[in-house]
Amino acid sequence: MRTYFNDLPKTALGASYWIFAVYLVLPLALMMAMSFKDANFIAFPIGNWTLSWYGKVVQDKQFLEASLYSIGIALATTVSATIIGVWIALLVSAENIWGKAVIFALACLPAVVPGLINAISMRIFIRAVDIPTGTFAIILAHTVHAVPFVVIMVLTRLRSMPANLVDAARDLGADPFIAFLRVTIPYLMPALFGGMIFCVLTSIDDFVRTFFLGGYQPTLPMLIFAKVQGGMSPEINAMATIVLVVTTAVGVYAEHITRRSRS
C-alpha cells in the first residue's frame, strides 16, 4: 500500500504525459491517414486506401511553385538573419559597449511581440517608406522575426567560449579579423547551424506576416490556406503531410548534428 501511495505522483505524472503525447500525435496521425483516403471528402471510415492524392500534389504546378517560393524566402531570411544575429550577439558580448542591455532587449523584442501586431506594424512601416508588398517585404518581416533566435543561440555559445581562444590566435599572429574567421566562427558553428535551421523552419511556417506583406504570389502556407477555404479534401492532407515529413526530417537532422558537434 505504502509503495503504491509513494509512487502515486510519479504514476500520475507518467499517465498524464502519455495522455498529452496522444493528444499531440493523434491529430497529426489522423491528418496523415486521411491523405491516403480514396475519396474526395474527409470522413471516417477511410475505406479504400490510395496514393493518388500524392501523385496529384507532386504534379500540382501551384504547389511546386509555392514550395520553391517558400524555400527561396526561407533561404534569404536565413542568410540575412544569421548575419544580423551574429553581429548583434558579438556586439552584446563585447566589452566596453555602451547600452548592451538596450541592444539585446531591442534585438529580442520581435520574439515576444505577437505576430499579428508585428505584421500590421510592418505593413504600415513599408507603406510609409514606400517598399512594395511582395518578396522583399516578406523577407524583411521574416528576418526581423528570426533574428532574436539567432542572437540568443549564438550568445549562449559565445558565453561558453573561453576568452583565451581569441587571445591565443592573436598571440600566434592573427589580426582581429583572421582570429574571428578562424577561431570564433568555427567555435560558433553548432549554434550557427541550429540558428539557421530554426530560421528556415520559422520562415516556411510563417503565415500571418506573409499574409500581411505578401504580393500575389502565394507561399506554401498561403496556398494551403486558400485551398482550405475552398473546402477540405485529402489533397490538402497530402500537402500538409509532405510539409510535415520534410520539416520534421530537417529538425531531427539538425538536432542530431548539433548534439554530435557538442560532444
Partner: protein
C-alpha cells in the same frame, strides 16, 4: 649583455587599483625566469603586458632593445602558453601547432616538417591527427607548449600552465619544461604562485608582492638569504625572532631576543646596536640535541609537538623564554617525545637578519 626583455618604470592601474607599481625588470636572454607571488601580486598582469593583452599605464617595455608597448599581440615576437591551454577545439593537434606557422606564411611542406619535429620533442608524434578533446591534461599541456614554440618566438611566456595538473604530473612536467628550455635555449618567463615550481625550474626567481619586486635572485640565494619577511615566508618556512641588536662584528650580529643573546648573519643589511630587527631561521637549520653541546651556543627547550612528515620530522619546541621554534629533524637521530627536554641552536650564518 643586452637584456632580452626590459620593463622600464612600468605602471599598470585599473582605476584606483594599482596592479603593477613602478616595475623595473631586466631579463637576460636564455634564462628560465619565474615571476613568483600570491594572486593579485601583479605577476600575471606583467606577463599579459609583455604578451600584448594589456598595455602599461605609464612606462615602456623593451623587447631586444625595441619598445613594444604600442604593438598588438600579433606583432610581437613572444608567444604565450595559457593557464587553460586555450587549444583550438575544432583543430587537430597538428593544425593547432601549425596555426602560428600558417599565419607566418610558411609553406605546407616546411610546416609539416616543423610540426613533426615539435611533436617528436614531446613524444607525441602519433597524436598529430587527434582532437584536443581526446588528449589527457599532460598531453594538452605539451601541445600548448609546442604551439607556442612553433613560430620560434624570442621569449616564451607561461601563465601558471601547470596549475591544472595533478601533483605527480606537475613534477614530471617541471623537469620536462626545464629540459625543453635548455634544449631550445629560449628565454622562458614563467608565472606561478607555487614556490616549489619556482625553485625546481628557475635560473632566476622574481618574487613579487603588491605590484612590486620584493626580491630577485637565484633559487638558492632566495632560499638561503631572504631579504624580507615576505620572501622568507613565501619560499619555504621560517621562524622569525624579533629582537634588538646588541653588537655587530664580522658580519654577524648579536641580537637580544627575549632575554637570550642569539647570533645571525647581517645578510647585506647594516644594523647598528639598538636597532629593532627580525631574524629569519629555517626549521631545517635548527638542531636539537639531548645534551647541551660544549662547542656551540644552544638554548634549553621542551618538545611541545612532534609530527612525523615522512622524510623528516617536524618538532615544535617551547623555549624557556616562552617562544616557540619549529625545527625539522632526522627522526632516527632524536627519539624524544612531547614533554622531553632538548637543547636547540643553529649556526650563526644560517640565521639571517631581514631588511624589512
Amino acid at each position: 649583455m643586452q637584456p632580452v626583455v626590459h620593463f622600464k618604470n612600468v605602471n599598470k592601474s585599473y582605476g584606483a587599483l594599482t596592479a603593477v607599481d613602478d616595475l623595473d625588470l631586466a631579463i637576460a636572454p636564455g634564462q628560465f625566469v619565474t615571476l613568483l607571488g600570491p594572486s593579485g601580486c601583479g605577476k600575471s598582469t606583467t606577463l599579459r603586458m609583455l604578451g600584448g593583452f594589456d598595455s602599461p599605464t605609464t612606462g615602456e617595455i623593451y623587447l631586444e632593445g625595441k619598445p613594444i608597448s604600442h604593438l598588438p599581440p600579433n606583432k610581437r615576437n613572444v608567444n604565450i602558453v595559457f593557464q587553460d591551454y586555450a587549444l583550438f577545439p575544432h583543430l587537430t593537434v597538428g593544425r593547432n601547432i601549425a596555426f602560428g606557422l600558417e599565419l607566418k606564411g610558411m609553406g605546407s611542406a616546411a610546416i609539416h616538417r616543423r610540426v613533426g619535429e615539435l611533436l617528436a620533442l614531446v613524444s607525441l608524434e602519433d597524436h598529430a591527427e587527434r582532437m584536443p578533446a581526446q588528449l589527457s591534461g599532460g598531453q594538452r599541456q605539451r601541445v600548448a607548449l609546442m604551439r607556442a614554440l612553433a613560430p620560434d618566438p624570442n621569449v616564451l611566456l607561461l601563465d601558471e600552465p601547470l596549475s591544472a595538473l595533478d601533483a605527480k604530473l606537475r613534477q614530471q612536467m617541471q623537469i620536462e619544461l626545464k629540459s625543453i628550455q635548455k634544449k631550445t635555449g629560449k628565454t622562458f618567463i614563467f608565472v606561478t604562485h607555487d614556490q616549489e615550481e619556482a625553485l625546481t625550474m628557475s635560473d632566476v626567481i622574481v618574487v613579487m608582492n603588491k605590484g612590486r619586486i620584493e626580491q630577485m635572485g637565484g633559487p638558492d640565494e632566495l632560499y638561503a638569504r631572504p631579504r624580507s619577511r615576505f620572501v622568507a615566508n613565501f619560499i619555504g618556512q621560517s621562524n622569525f625572532l624579533e629582537g634588538t641588536v646588541a653588537s655587530v662584528s664580522d658580519g654577524i650580529a648579536a641580537v637580544e631576543w627575549r632575554g637570550n643573546l642569539v647570533r645571525a648573519d647581517v645578510n647585506g643589511t647594516s644594523p647598528i646596536p639598538g636597532d629593532h630587527v627580525t631574524v629569519a631561521l629555517r626549521p631545517e637549520a635548527v638542531f636539537c640535541l639531548s645534551r647541551k653541546p660544549e662547542d656551540r651556543p644552544s638554548l634549553k627547550a621542551r618538545i611541545d609537538q612532534r609530527v612525523f612528515k615522512g622524510a623528516h620530522t617536524s618538532l615544535t619546541v617551547m623555549l624557556d623564554n616562552g617562544s616557540a621554534l619549529v625545527a625539522q629533524i632526522d627522526p632516527v637521530a632524536l627519539s624524544h617525545i612531547e614533554g622531553d627536554d632538548v637543547w636547540v641552536g643553529w649556526r650563526d650564518s644560517d640565521a639571517v637578519l631581514l631588511a624589512k
